[in-house]
Amino acid sequence: MTAYADKTVLVTGATRGVGRQITDHVLAGGGRVLGFARQASYIDNANYTHFQVDLANATAVTAIFGEVRKKTSRIDIVINNAGVLTSQYAMIMPPAAAQAMVNVNLLAPFLISREAAKFMRKSKWGRIINIGSMAASLEPIGDSVYAATKAGLSTLANVMAKEFGTFNVTCNTLGISAIDSDMLAQLPRDKIEEIIKSLPVARFADIDDILNVIDFFASERSSYITAQTVFLGGVN
C-alpha cells in the first residue's frame, strides 16, 4: 500500500514538470489529486480534479478554497510544488519579477497550507510538504530573491509544524537540486554544471530522487518527522 491510497492530495503546479510527475505518482498510488495550476488541465483521470488559479494572486488563492470545499471535505496532504524563478543580479532585478517570486514561492504556500490545515484540523491528520531548493543553502549569485523565498519556505514549514502539531499535521521541506525542467532551462547551462560538479553527488537529480523523499514525508510512519528540511545530492 502506498502513502497515497485513499488520500486526497493537493498539488500546486500540477500540470507541468515536476508537479505533473508528482501528480501522476500520487494517482498511480491510489490517491485523489486536487491540482492547482494557472493553465487548464489535460489530465484525464477520474481521481483528478483541476482548479485553475493564478498563484501569484493572493486573493484568488484564498477564494479558490471556496470551490475546493464544494468538491471535497478532505485534504490529507499538500505538496507546495509550484515556483517561479528569475535569476538576475540584484541591482538589475525587475521589481515585478521579485514580487512574483515572493507571491508564488512564499505567499501562496503560506495561504494554501493554512487553508488546507483547516481541513486537516477536522481529521486530525495531515502532511504539508514544501518543495524547496538547493539555492536556499548554496545562495548562488543571481538568485537573491529566489533563494530567500526558498529559505523562507523552510522557515514557514518549521513554524507551521509547531502550530499544527497538536492536530497531527507534519510540515517538512524537500530542497531539490537541479533537475532538467523548464525552470532550469532559464539558467545558463555552464552555471548549473559548475554547481552540480561541486555537489557530493555530482549529478542532476532525477524524478525518483524527489518522489522518494516526498513518499517518506507523506508516509504514515513519518508522524514523528516534522520541521525538517532534506536536501538532495549532499547539499547542506
Binding site: 477564494a63 470545499r69 497538536t166
Partner: protein, 100 residues
C-alpha cells in the same frame, strides 16, 4: 435580512466543537455573555483560532461568500470583536449586512 439568530447558532456550534476537545472542567458555556478573548476569558489562543476558523468556514458555506473575520478592521477595532460571543455575533452580522 435578519442574520443574528443564524450567526449565533453557528458560533454556538463552533463552541460545541471546541467543548468536544476540552476536559469536563474547562467546558465553555453556550451563552452570548461567554468571554472569548482577554484576561477573563478561559479560552486559550489556539482554541480561539479554532472557533474563528469554524465560524468563518460555516458562514462562508451557509451564505456562499467568503468572510474574513481577522482582517485589519477586526484586528484594529476597540473593543475587539472577539471579546465575547455577543461582540463576535454583532461583528459577523455587520459583515453580512454590508455584503447583503
Amino acid at each position: 435580512m435578519d442574520f443574528r439568530h443564524d450567526v449565533l447558532q453557528i458560533i454556538f456550534e463552533a463552541l460545541k466543537s471546541l467543548n468536544e476537545e476540552l476536559p469536563e472542567d474547562q467546558q465553555v458555556a453556550l451563552s452570548e455573555d461567554t468571554l472569548l478573548f482577554g484576561g477573563e476569558s478561559t479560552i486559550d489562543s489556539l482554541s480561539l483560532v479554532s472557533v474563528i476558523v469554524d465560524v468563518e468556514t460555516a458562514i462562508s458555506t451557509q451564505y456562499d461568500r467568503p468572510v474574513a473575520l481577522t482582517d485589519d478592521r477586526a484586528m484594529s477595532r476597540e473593543p475587539s470583536p472577539f471579546t465575547s460571543v455577543r461582540t463576535l455575533t454583532d461583528f459577523v452580522v455587520e459583515l453580512l449586512t454590508e455584503k447583503a
